[in-house]
Subunit: 121 residues, 2 copies
């Protein structure tokens, strides 16, 4: 199995484990999509861009607010969650979840996925 | 009691309820500090600026990622949490908490504080 196939399988497994996770993607810190499992109507490059920007600013905010190195950034909106977890080699794992999601479970499943991603990225 | 005194009392009550909350502040969306209970060595204007920037970008990200209107932004760093909750009239309640904090409790106490803030801001 190629590296890209392995990454895609990890993303699909994350969404299978947490049905509330509607979409997931692995994004480089310079805003490029490395792999994704997004709904068809979603513009990949916009998602990658806004996620990388938020992740970079989260990193700056963590330092300036004396919280150390950034590990996770979460945005909760009226329709659900966007969660970003630092993966490896300057990449970020993004998951989009519905409002009904159990946040603790999503963090748990995402951290497991990050452990798997670190073996291949 | 003046409005500013009431806001300061709400911030102090938040920190008394959650000892893991090390600092808190009410910040306008244009990056001005309205009230704060921060450690002395912290630069208020930098905290207000970075928090307002993160909150604004969180709002844009929530819309672009189809999560609706932003309600909360969380950054977890190696030393702890920065949590921002939309309060009222374009303000954001910020809390900085240690790594040992129970995130669910902090969200609960912050939402209560936001309910109180909405009565006076």
């Amino acid at each position: 199995m190629s590296r890209v196939e392995t990454i895609n399988r990890i993303l699909r497994n994350l969404q299978a484990a947490s049905p509330a996770v509607e979409a997931s993607a692995l994004i480089s810190e310079d805003g490029l999509m490395l792999a994704s499992a997004l709904p068809q109507h979603v513009d990949e490059s916009r998602v990658a861009g806004v996620s990388a920007t938020l992740s970079t600013l989260g990193s700056r905010a963590a330092r300036e607010l004396e919280r150390g190195d950034v590990e996770e950034v979460l945005v909760r909106g009226s329709y659900g969650y966007a969660v970003m977890i630092s993966a490896s080699a300057g990449t970020v794992l993004l998951a989009l979840a519905s409002r009904e999601a159990k946040l603790g479970l999503i963090f748990l499943d995402m951290r497991r996925a990050v452990d798997d991603l670190r073996k291949v990225v």
